[in-house]
Structures are given as C-alpha cells and as structure tokens.
Symmetry: C2
Subunit: 401 residues, 2 copies
DNA sequence: TTGAAAGCGCTAACAT
DNA sequence: ATGTTAGCGCTTTCAA
C-alpha cells in the first residue's frame, strides 16, 4: 500500500512532525528542510491517509449535499456549482438524494446518512415551516431553498418576491397586460413557500402598474415538473381565458407550457410571451428559447460552501444564524421577444492551484485569528457576512426588466 | 460528541468486541446479548465513526464517480442512477467533475483527487484509446463509456453498433430512405469512439436494407451539445440536401436539431423523422417528443457499482478484466410518428432496509468464501459476470425497431 | 461465544 | 525550528 509519514520522515531524515508541518503548509519550516521533505514525498509518491487525518482531526474534508434528485435539472446544476465551489477549497462533496421524500429528508437531519462528512448543505423539498425545529441538529448545517425560514441554521436563498416582481415587470414592459401564472401553490396557508413568495412579487408588479389581479389567470401546478406545466397550460387554453403572457414559477413548468402552447398552435411570443424562473441551461435551447429569472446559482453555491466551511471551522461561541440573499437578474430570450445568440457557454476558469495534500485550516492558536488562504473576493464576502444578519451578494448585477 | 463503542460496551455490560460483532452483523452472537447491545446502541444513539473504521479496515464505504460535468443531462442522470445503486449497498458516492478536460481526467487517474474513496467509476471524455496504459492505477477502477476499449480494468458499456443499427432500422421501418446523421466524428482514424461505432451501426442497417451510404448525409458535430446539433442541422438545410429522417448520435444533438428544424419550418415527423440516442428525460418533453435509444442506464449503473464493489472486496489473485455490455431498447415517440402519453414517471422503489451501521463485508476468513447479503438478482448477475469475459445484461429487453 | 490488547496513520500538545 | 509522544475509534488477531 501507500507510504506513510514515517516513511517520508525516514527518507528525508527528519521527524514526522516536520513532514506533517510541510504537508499542512505550516509556515515555520526552514526552506532547505522543506525541500528535503518535498523531494521525499515525491520519491515515495506519498499521499496522506484521509481516514487517519479525519480520525485525528475530527474532520474529513468532505461535505454532504442533500437534494431531492439529480435528474431534476435545477438540482444537477446546483450540485455542479457546489462541487466547483467546494473543489476550490479542496473539499469533496458527497451527494445524498432524498428522492424528494419526507422520509429521506428526515434521514438527512437524523445524521443517519451522514457518511464521513463535516457538515451538510440541505435543500429540502418536503419538509416545511412546521418542521423548523428539526433543523436543530448536532452537525454544521446550511439550509438552501425557500421551504423553511427563520430556522436555527444559516440559510442561503434568493430574492423570490423581488425577482418575481421583476419578471412580471419584464412582461409588462413589453406591453403585456393579461399575465397568467402557472405554478401557484394549491393551499392558501403556508405563506412562506417560494410559490407564494413569487406570486406575491407578481401581484406587486401588477399593483404597481395598475393592473387588476385576476384569479382565473393564476393556475396551480405541483410539483413543478414539465408535465404539470403542460397540463396547466392545456387547462388554461381549454378554459378560454384571455391572456397574452405567462409567468411560470420555474423553468421546468415553463418548458412544459411551451410544449402545450406549441401543440395548440399558439405563437410565442407573438400571441403569448413566456418567462420562467431558475435559468436552467435547457431554457436557452427550447423552441423558442425561454426568458427566465437567473437566481444567481453560482453565487449561491459559493456562499453556501463558504458559510458551511466557516461554521465547520468556527471556534468558541457560535455566531447567530445568518440569512443570505443572492442577487438575481432577468434574462430576456425569444419567448419575450428578445434574442440571445446560441453559442457555447463561456469557458469556466479552472480553480487556482492548491496544495493537494493540505487540509484547510482557518485559525491557528487561541486568540490569534489567522485567515485561511483565500482570494480577496471571498474574503470580502465573508467579511460582509459577518457584519450583518441579512446580507446581499455581489451587487451591481441587480437589473430590473 | 458522539458515543463510542466503549460507551456502548459499558452500558450493555459487554466488551467492545461484542458490540463490534453486533454492529457488523457477525452471526455468532447470542440473541440475548445482541438485544442488550442493540438497546444500548439505541439509548446512546450510537453511530460508528467511519474515519476510524476506514483507518482500521482500509475501506471508507465511499466510491468516487468521475464524470465530465453534472450539467450535462446525461451525466446527471447517470450520477443519479449510480448514487441509487451505491445507496442500495450502503455505499456513498463522491462526485469528481473533470470539467471535460484532459488535465482533470489525468488527475483522476493519478489518484490525486481520490478523497476517502475505495475505488472509482470513471467516465472519460477526453482521454482516448492512446491513453489505455494510464488505466493501470493502484486502486480499483471501473471504466464507463466508449472512449477506451481493451484496457486493464473492468469496463461497463453499451452495444453501440447494434443499438445504432436498431435506431436506423426504426427509421427505415417507418418508410424513410434518406436518413441523415448528425454527430459523426471529424477524423476517420480512431475507430473506437462511440461516434464511429454508432455510424457503423447506421451503415450496417443501410446495407441490410439495400440503401446507399451517402456521405453528404453524414454530418460531423463535436462536442455533442445542443448548439452543435442546431448548427449542423442548419448547415444540412442550407446545403439543400434531400433527407426524410435524422439520426443524431445523442439526444442533446437531437434536441438542438429539433430546434433548428422548428426554426426552418420543417415539420417533424411529417417532413423529417428524428431519433436520438441516450433517452434522457428531456427527450420526453420536447416539441415534438423525441424518439431515442435507451441504453439501459439504470442497469449500467447497477452493474458498474456491483463490479467496482466486487473488485474492492476481491481477495487473492485478481480476476482478468471484464467487459460488460448493457442491453438497449428503442423508444418510439412523436418524432418518429409514435406517441407516448406524457405522464409522471413510474415511482422508483425505495431501497430495501439495511442495517445503517453495517459495513459491507463480502468474504470472511481465508478460503471460506461467503456471499455478502444481497438479493437473488444481483447474485445471479455477479455469477454471470464471473463466468465469461463479455457478458450481456438482463435479456428479454432487447427489441428491434 | 466473548474478552483483551495491539495498532491502523495521523495531528496536537508538549518538549527541546 | 524540530522532535517526542499520546491517543482519536475502530477492527483484528489471539486467547479464554
């Protein structure tokens, strides 16, 4: 099997502590010693045993991501972003699929499925506001999504009301007046879910424009899958309701609705303009391409990972839970009369080089806090997080339709 | 923090060895003793420390899945299936995104990114046949996909030639004679990649039907992204080539092509029938819904995980590398004149109950091989794998257009 | 069938 | 700036 610290120490002629210091980027090592150790590491192709490190340090260098299902595009893209963000810290990601069952989500919180992880990013789909107390768990947990608010954990989410309002204003801005909605929540209670928040934003936009709120235009659909978008649109058409625009509360519903509109021979955007929510990749390639609200997924991923890691490394009294809101932007495409050229996505920069052997260390010694190596942008972000209970991400991207 | 084996042993009034035996389902424990231990475990809410277990046993209970990008639907769905398959064994999955770079894929093989995993499922997208020797790595590795054949590792893949032939026959079967292809590989060498294999199947079908092979109908496109499918289709239309059907070498290309056909006012399937390859979820919901080749992804996932786990647990002389081929089926939808009702997917059965504390153990003691607890189907499958160098999955699903 | 004890490879506390 | 040592929680001999 692989070689150990002892082997390296023997070859390099130093103690294992010195080797450990080099491996962990401890600064006070004489350059010549470091050289000797590094070449011994190279010679032996040494790799630290992460189980041993985890056993000793109490940390594994892996975080969990609990989501309903990877086959929902939104979550696949979220997972992609989160894996990239974690990778930039040298942290791995284990994905736990809850299959969108209450049972699966409870299992996440019970810690039963927590395998070798230092903390968990959790995006529930079944648990709701009533379950807020279940979030009191014995491990670092960062909540994602809009199912539960005001809980005991950090929470990274998006500006549902404002961005839904902006989406509606985007439709009003191109002259539409009878704007249908698909994806409202069936029940009137439970005012916290993203459906209700987004409908609220829709109403605000109507009110501000002096347009009436017509309940025949607001259609329920759950869950937010393509087929339900298609079914709701067929009903809307069958009912003979007059409308010239559609706001679907997520992109998947919108793609289903586009399909039903196509089947019915309704022209988009000529007869009906359509905008969705989430800005999944697929929306760029539908026929017609679909406008959407970009909720800032990459930013959400970065902040969620940063937040979780800072909790994992937190010493002393835990800071109060924070809610962090991502900024958003409206992406106009063909379905609302805009056009975006179909082209390859810009290449993603690869993460900066990092010591593949090193484990992230944030503080050193009592009192003397020392920031972990990180770039300026993330340092600024973390500082912002520390300064307020509710924080907004990178500004300047906020743009009203 | 959590309680340990010692705590449980103290409460139960037994030694830690006994507790360990219970936790690991070791059979020779007196029922009364087992009861005592179980209730102590319950009382303390004991959970084994997986780092310690990993350190001692040399296994972590986690496997790696190296894929290009989760935001490609195909890989998100593959990852979904693999996570479910691993979960049924109580094994976690860490996802390593190579970002479809050669660099990232080499890093997988170097083991540098291997974090706390017992083995790796690797689906390369950049490495090719020339890199076959790089697959000689020091850890259990199972190869997926069609980039490299005949390597030193187990390889789970699909019947590219046969299924592409069946797809083409599906088009011929509905009366089409001028069948275009999108997605061929630009270079003529390198006869191994899935593009060439699938084109070969296409040619075989033409030959068998007595149809000519017309190179003006065979279009290159790489990589297999939506935009390239759209671009290739636009070219095909601009060139004024006569064709009445299209076979795209994956679904994503097909969806792009559908978009371009829609833009050009070409009716599908009336003017041009279309079939893709991969059967991603999205193809069920395009306008029109797209026929496809289902390469048996769930089966591939199950077998890949089974194979990797059996390698991980393998004792003694390693068995020779195996190639395992999944079976396929043709799914006819609107784009070839068939219709499939849009409805929710059948619910997936949840995995059977398993001891959440137990670690998978396959053999016990030298010589005396004892099968791990598993169901009959997977036992049968594993037996089949052992019996032949090339094996076919569950039969009876094979179906020609 | 159960117990006792060694030690996996590493980090952290302490010593020098 | 570097060395020594204890022990993280578990599995695995070996013994009883």
């Amino acid at each position: 099997m692989g070689s150990t610290l002892h082997d390296v120490a023997r070859i390099a002629g130093v103690s294992i502590k010195t080797v450990s210091n080099v491996v962990n980027n401890y600064p006070h090592v004489r350059p010549s010693t470091r050289e000797k150790v590094l070449s011994a590491i190279e010679e032996l192709d040494y790799r630290p045993n992460l189980s041993a490190r985890g056993l000793r340090s109490g940390r594994t260098g892996v975080i969990g991501l609990a989501i309903p299902e990877l086959r929902q595009n939104y979550f696949a893209e979220l997972a992609d972003s989160i894996i990239r963000a974690a990778d930039a810290h040298g942290v791995g990601v284990v994905i736990d699929q809850t299959s969108a069952t209450r049972e699966g989500e409870l299992a996440v919180l019970s810690g039963e499925r927590l395998r070798l992880t230092d903390g968990v990013l959790f995006s529930p789909e079944r648990l709701g506001q009533d379950d807020v107390n279940l979030l009191n768990v014995g491990f670092p947990l960062v909540l994602l999504g809009e199912r539960i608010f005001g809980g005991p954990t950090d929470h990274v989410t998006m500006r549902n009301v404002e961005s839904a309002r902006a989406a509606t204003e985007h439709l009003i801005g191109i002259g539409r007046r009878r704007i249908a909605v698909i994806g409202a929540h069936p029940v009137n209670q439970d005012d916290i879910r993203s459906a209700n928040l987004r409908v609220r934003g829709y109403r605000e936009a109507l009110d501000a424009a002096g347009l009436p709120y017509d309940t025949t235009l607001v259609r329920t659909a759950a869950p937010w899958h393509r087929e339900n978008g298609a079914v709701a649109m067929r009903r809307l058409l069958e009912d003979g309701v007059d409308f010239d625009a559609l706001f679907t509360l997520n992109d998947t519903l919108g793609l289903g609705a586009l399909r039903a509109l196509g089947e019915a021979g309704v022209r988009v955007p000529d007869d009906v303009a359509v905008i969705g929510f989430d800005n999944i990749d697929e929306s760029r390639f539908s026929v017609p391409s679909m406008s959407s609200v970009d909720p800032g997924r990459d930013e959400i991923a970065r902040v969620a990972v940063d937040t979780l890691l800072s909790r994992i490394h937190e010493k002393g009294e835990p800071a109060p839970p924070r809610q962090i809101l991502a900024d958003y932007r409206i992406v106009g495409r063909e379905s609302t009369g805009f056009s975006e050229p179909i082209e390859a996505e810009p290449p993603r920069p690869s993460p900066p080089w990092r010591n593949p052997l090193a484990v992230e260390r944030v503080t050193r010694g009592p009192g003397a806090r020392r920031a972990a190596p990180r770039n300026r942008a993330s340092a600024r972000r973390a500082d912002a997080l520390r300064s307020a209970h509710v924080t907004t991400l990178a500004d300047g991207r906020h743009k009203r339709g």
